[in-house]
């Protein structure tokens, strides 16, 4: 009998049209091909989403979130129309209103504020990626109270990177995946830059290069690490400094690199009585001085032909100046940083620390290689080769969300720099617009004038006490107390303090809280229950303490119920966006790139893109900046702004296809066809960096010139890596009593202790925490991001509930088995949750997936959804303030330098609460919220093409 098999159609039509745009299922910003098919009604619908192969970020690959975008666009949790609150806050009772009415209400609240005191508006955005625009709006409104969510998320990492090396991890830099032979990844929470990191890991794994993971939890990337260091949370800095100790002691550091490209040779004033103690010796132009090894004499660091001496010292009168490097040697060669001294605290055997140090040394120096590429440095010296040091380091949020996170991130960068691996082939590379010295960033601005714009950009980098955002009476100028003595270098603002400060009227009361995509009454706040109370709390006269709340979100999140006015946003496939070089672009180390989103489908609801609503609000209020001299509106919507706004002449939100013919890159007149050009180009623009300019960028003339041409800066900005961060020393000097801006007395000691200009490590174990000894962490699963996974019919099947993972030791100790319930408490609160054993976990650490747990009645889910019954948040256990110390003060639970929320410092106590059948729901159980969108359908059989 002949074998007969059915004929299969192996070449079916894939789609009727591919529309290329940018993903927004996380902060990765991958390029996507949205396959459209025509449905029975002749309308094109999204049929399938895949990665765009030509895109610089993802090169065709796409993660689970990205592929599940179709379930995000059809999610039943999408808001349908503007809403006006009719029940009490938190009830979820709303009535639908028209956009005209919504804008009328919003302008009616905002216009009087602007005329009277613009700072009465606090405008904070959450997962926003249009901060250069929202900041522009807030600046033109005139309030000083604007920031995004970085202070909650990872300001330590961004700020430490920029102060130290003029760039940071994630969107700002990447390992040299093509050349590295040893990749070391620090920190829990493997979410940011997710596809590029996965692609990079794949590349180096294919080569068989070694991956070392330093993370209390061996999940995800750490699961594929060749060597796993299950470190005790919060001790990464100490571990890193032990590596520094070993490498310095053995002389396994890149002296040439240090002397040329870092401030290691810069001379530091050692006069114990001077108000300049610890500051750099500078020439009359303010240029830091070094000893030139050729002459033995003082020389500006950037002088042509100078050979800075790492061991230089200089006596001027009675005052000795020694090099930064000498200060480093004195500090880090001390036995207190020896592996044996740190092993127990870090939970890593000394032998292991030493083995890692040795491997770093071996790969950095014994496996050094050369790229046959000439380049010229900023001093004019020609190099005929590029020396590669194939050790690359990267870090995730885990190292950052501790009260010592800033110094830890600094220590990490210092380690990279000592090995000469930053911007060297095989090491860590910046992505344009970085590298960029801290001086090239603005300082923060906070001067508010009624009816006028703010005096400059809100956020920036302080260089000393003179840049703090303080009023003339010394009180905080900003509602979040950013840039104050409590957290002087809080470059991203402190979104997590806004609601509690506004509720307390400290430092002052506000009138309207305006938020975008920030689920503050749920997973985006510490102390969730407390925040809910603050949002609903009333004063003696029965008015809400936070009088008005405007909120914009695309979905029925937990925060919706707590706002008075809802401005429904579109989904990511229904909107214009620009992922701008002025903001957090999609650049790669080999090229500058930006991208757009555009409406590949039209909304089927009465919703508008939030940025367009901001333009419309601005036009209604005739905000300066948005209004032409003749009083007409400059832009009708966000797309109009993206194309026609110029930040400086010739520089706009998008760098590509500028000029009347669309052939100019970076600089050029606005091009009315710009968006079409982007769409034709796959939704993005990329300009490649010339080979000569591709490494050593902070000091590479070819790069600097290229960057100027592209408009990244207006003149070359070469600089030195700041092993020693002088601005920090300036805050210490103030705390020591120097200068006219003085910190309050209760903060002096802390500033002296923590704002050390060379990396230090200090214990973050919080006072008042006695008895709470187990570290508790959270991270997001790779297949989910923030809360959005929950509404996604496909993704919520992967992670519909979250157990608390306990290490084997703690499971045994508490007589727990998988599925049992544990009571987990902190000084601040208590939750009862299901547990699961995980062996590959630091023995004194527990953790869970973040933002799986949901409030009943939200996200279009039925109230018995596992997210709402079994899922839970660890946030209930974390407070924005520390437990009382007995000094009458409540200290913020944050990094004293940047104000970064220290939610990874959480310590808990675990007790067995019962067997699986003893509880049906995780505790606490909050009242259901009335859903403004109802719930989703029972079954799904989704197929567009028939």
């Amino acid at each position: 009998m002949t074998f007969q098999q059915p004929r299969v159609e192996t070449s079916p039509k894939v789609s009727d049209e591919i529309r290329q745009t940018t993903c927004y299922m996380c902060a990765c910003r991958c390029g996507i091909n949205v396959h459209m098919k025509t449905n029975e009604d002749g309308k094109k619908e999204v049929a399938y989403i895949e990665g765009n192969r030509d895109h610089p970020v993802n090169k065709g690959v796409l993660c689970a979130k990205g592929s599940a975008g179709i379930m995000q666009v059809n999610a039943p949790s999408r808001l349908k129309a503007p809403l006006k609150r009719v029940g009490p806050r938190g009830s979820g009772e709303f009535e639908e209103i028209s956009w005209d009415e919504a804008l009328e209400i919003a302008a009616g609240w905002l216009e009087p504020i602007r005329k009277d005191d613009p700072s009465k508006l606090a405008f904070f955005t959450g997962r926003d990626q249009s901060q250069s625009f929202t900041g522009f709006w807030a600046q033109n409104f005139g309030t000083c109270n604007y920031a995004a969510h970085g202070g909650f998320c990872s300001v330590n990492m961004a700020t430490a990177g920029i102060y130290t090396m003029g760039g940071a991890f994630w969107e700002f830099g990447q390992p040299d995946w093509d050349h590295t032979k040893l990749f070391m990844l620090f920190g829990v929470a493997e979410d940011h830059d997710s596809n590029p990191i996965k692609m990079g890991l794949g590349k180096i794994k294919a080569r068989g290069a070694r991956v070392i993971g330093v993370n209390p939890i061996r999940s995800g990337y750490n699961a594929v690490a060749d060597d796993w260091v299950g470190i005790t949370p919060g001790t990464d800095g100490l571990f890193i400094l032990a590596l520094v100790h070993e490498l310095m002691k053995a002389g396994k550091i890149d002296l040439d690199y240090l002397s040329r490209y870092t401030n290691a040779p810069v001379l530091v004033n050692q006069d114990p009585n001077s108000q300049d103690k610890g500051l750099f010796l500078r020439d009359d132009h303010g240029t830091p001085l070094v000893i030139n090894r050729k002459t033995g004499k003082l020389a500006p660091f950037d002088m042509k032909g100078v050979r800075p001496d790492l061991g230089g010292s200089f006596k001027m009168g009675d005052v000795t100046h020694v090099s930064v490097f000498q200060l480093m040697a004195e500090r880090y060669l001390k036995d207190e940083y020896a592996p044996e001294a740190v092993a127990e605290r870090c939970g890593i055997p000394a032998k292991r620390i030493r083995a890692i140090a040795a491997e770093l040394a071996r790969v950095a120096f014994d496996e050094a290689f050369e790229l046959d590429q000439e380049w010229t440095d900023f001093r004019g010296e020609k190099h005929d080769k590029m020396i590669g040091r194939p050790v690359a380091m990267h870090a995730m949020r885990g190292v950052s969300a501790h009260a010592n996170g800033f110094q830890t991130c600094r220590a990490l960068h210092v380690l990279q720099i000592l090995l000469g691996t930053v911007e060297a082939p095989g090491g860590f590379r910046f992505k344009p617009p970085y590298p960029k010295p801290v001086e090239a960033h603005p300082a923060p601005h906070c001067r508010v004038t009624p009816n006028k714009p703010l005096d400059g950009p809100h956020l920036g980098f302080v260089h000393g006490p003179e840049h703090l955002a303080l009023k003339s009476d010394g009180s905080p100028a900003r509602i979040d107390k950013a840039f104050t003595w409590e957290n002087p270098m809080s470059s991203h603002g402190l979104m997590h303090m806004v609601i509690s400060n506004a509720h307390a009227g400290d430092p002052y009361k506000i009138d309207t809280l305006f938020m975008y995509m920030a689920n503050m009454s749920w997973n985006s706040s510490m102390n969730t229950g407390g925040v809910i109370e603050m949002l609903t709390d009333k004063d003696e006269s029965g008015d809400y303490k936070i009088p008005r709340i405007i909120y914009s979100d695309a979905y029925s999140s937990e925060m919706v119920a707590y706002a008075d006015l809802i401005l429904p946003d579109t989904t990511y496939l229904e909107r214009h966006d620009c992922i701008s070089m002025l903001d957090r672009p999609i650049c790669e180390a080999d090229g500058a790139a930006d991208a757009i989103r555009w409406p590949v489908i039209e909304p089927d609801r009465d919703v508008r893109g939030f940025q367009t609503v901001l333009v419309q609000l601005a036009n209604k209020m005739k905000l300066p900046g948005f209004t032409a001299e003749d009083g007409s509106a400059k832009w009708q919507d966000y797309a109009d702004y993206i194309v026609n706004h110029e930040r400086k002449p010739g520089i706009g939100p998008l760098a590509g296809f500028r000029g009347p013919d669309g052939d100019k890159s970076g600089r050029g007149e606005p091009n009315p066809e710009q968006l079409d050009k982007y769409i034709k180009n796959g939704g993005f623009f990329v300009e490649h960096i010339p080979a000569e300019a591709s490494y050593f960028k902070p000091w590479n003339r070819a790069y600097q010139d290229w960057a100027v041409d592209l408009g990244l800066y207006d003149s070359p900005q070469p600089y030195l890596f700041q092993l020693y961060v002088e601005p920090m020393r300036k805050f210490q000097l103030a705390a020591e009593g120097h200068g006219d801006r003085q910190p309050p007395d209760h903060l002096r000691q802390r500033i002296k202790d923590t704002m050390d200009p060379l990396p230090i490590w200090y214990e973050t174990d919080q006072q008042g925490n006695a008895g709470f000894t187990v570290n508790a962490l959270t991270q997001r699963p790779m297949a989910m991001y923030h809360s959005w996974g929950t509404q996604n019919a496909w993704l919520r099947q992967l992670h519909g509930r979250n157990p608390l993972y306990l290490p084997t030791k703690l499971m045994r100790q508490h007589n727990l088995a998988d599925g049992d319930w544990a009571r987990v408490s902190s000084p601040h609160g208590e939750i009862t949750v299901p547990v699961m054993e995980m062996a590959a976990l630091n023995g004194n650490t527990v953790w869970t997936w973040n933002a799986i747990g949901k409030r009943k009645g939200t996200w279009g889910l039925q109230e018995d959804a596992p997210e709402a019954t079994k899922g839970f948040l660890l946030n209930h256990l974390i407070h924005e303030l520390m437990p009382p110390k007995g000094d009458g003060l409540r200290w913020a639970n944050s990094d004293p330098i940047t104000g970064q929320a220290a939610w990874f410092d959480l310590k808990v106590k675990i007790e067995k609460a019962g067997a699986p059948e003893d509880f049906t729901e995780s505790q606490p159980i909050l009242e259901p919220i009335k859903s403004p969108v109802g719930t989703g359908p029972k079954d799904l059989t989704w197929k567009v093409g028939k």
């Binding site: 992967l798 992670h799 519909g800 509930r801 995980m838 062996a839 596992p866």
Partner: protein, 295 residues
């Protein structure tokens, strides 16, 4: 395995039905006319009812006709063909017996053979599955056939034979359980072979792929508590074999009571077999459970 009522009903009823048909085909009892009609009605009700029940778990029962096509490889297909052939042949034989007072001996023998073949093919659907070591044993068809014969003898009123067959079937049942309990371990399939991991240590399942349930878990992972299983086994033995034997050997004079006792024996046996079959499925461990840490 998920103990689906449809398959339990199917195997229990059709096993009995075909067992009875086998005895009828062999001429025990050698009946004609109305008496034959009653016997055949019972046999067909059981056999056909069981077969119908088996279609309840199909996703597309309307396509069931296609299931006869793959007899060259598929035991399920063979079972379908055997069942239809047995029912047709025995149907002819029954017509002869009921309406024509004829005893077509050869046809009867053929029908009996086909009936037992049907039971055998049914058993082979399970026996062939390497994925379920508890079923993948030579004892499985022996058990199915022994139950069918014992039940058939019971229904056919072959009391003295039935006693011996019931005792034998009970013994086989015990042996099957004893051997089955060690089958998974003896199969050599472990978490190590399933994953290829654990060369230098032990392997345990961590997170399942999805937190939600799925078809595989619903179909293949059914956990029966050990104590619960022991209890059910005792009940199955008692109802399926011990009580029927007792009912048969009780010395009673009245033929009414005797018939009543026989009816009790049949009902008890059926209930016992149903419990045994529930255990047959519920206790069957599919190797896929290894991937979910459920073995």
């Amino acid at each position: 395995m998920h103990p689906a009522p449809s398959v339990i009903l199917f195997t229990t009823l059709s096993g009995l039905g075909f067992g009875l048909l086998a005895f009828l085909g062999l001429g025990y009892p050698d009946v004609t006319g109305w008496v034959a009609f009653v016997f055949y009605a019972i046999a067909y009700a059981l056999a056909v009812g069981g077969l119908l029940a088996s279609t309840f778990h199909l996703g597309h029962p309307e396509r069931a006709i296609k299931a006869f096509s793959q007899w060259r490889t598929s035991w399920l297909s063979r079972e379908g063909l055997c069942a239809v052939a047995a029912l047709l042949v025995m149907g002819l034989f029954a017509i002869g017996a009921i309406f024509l007072e004829q005893d077509w001996r050869l046809l009867g023998l053929l029908g009996a053979g086909l009936s037992l073949a049907t039971v055998f093919t049914t058993s082979m659907i399970y026996t062939q599955l390497k994925t379920i070591p508890r079923w993948n044993m030579g004892l499985t068809p022996v058990m199915f056939l022994s139950f069918s014969l014992a039940g058939g003898a019971l229904l056919a009123g072959q009391e003295s034979l039935a006693i011996w067959l019931l005792l034998a079937a009970g013994g086989i049942q015990l042996t099957y359980w004893a051997k089955g309990d060690g089958a998974f371990a003896a199969s050599g399939t472990t978490m190590q072979t399933a994953t290829g991991l654990g060369g230098e240590g032990s392997v345990r399942a961590f997170e399942p792929p999805h937190t939600g349930s799925n078809y595989l878990l619903r179909e293949f992972v059914h956990i029966v508590g050990r104590k619960h299983a022991q209890k059910l086994r005792a009940i199955a033995l008692l109802l399926g074999f011990a009580l029927p034997v007792v009912f048969l050997v009780l010395p009673v004079e009245s033929s009414l009571i005797k018939h009543l006792m026989a009816a009790f024996a049949v009902l008890s046996h059926m209930a016992g077999i149903a419990v045994s079959r529930w255990l047959f499925f519920a206790q069957a461990e599919h190797v896929v459970g290894l991937y979910y840490g459920k073995r």
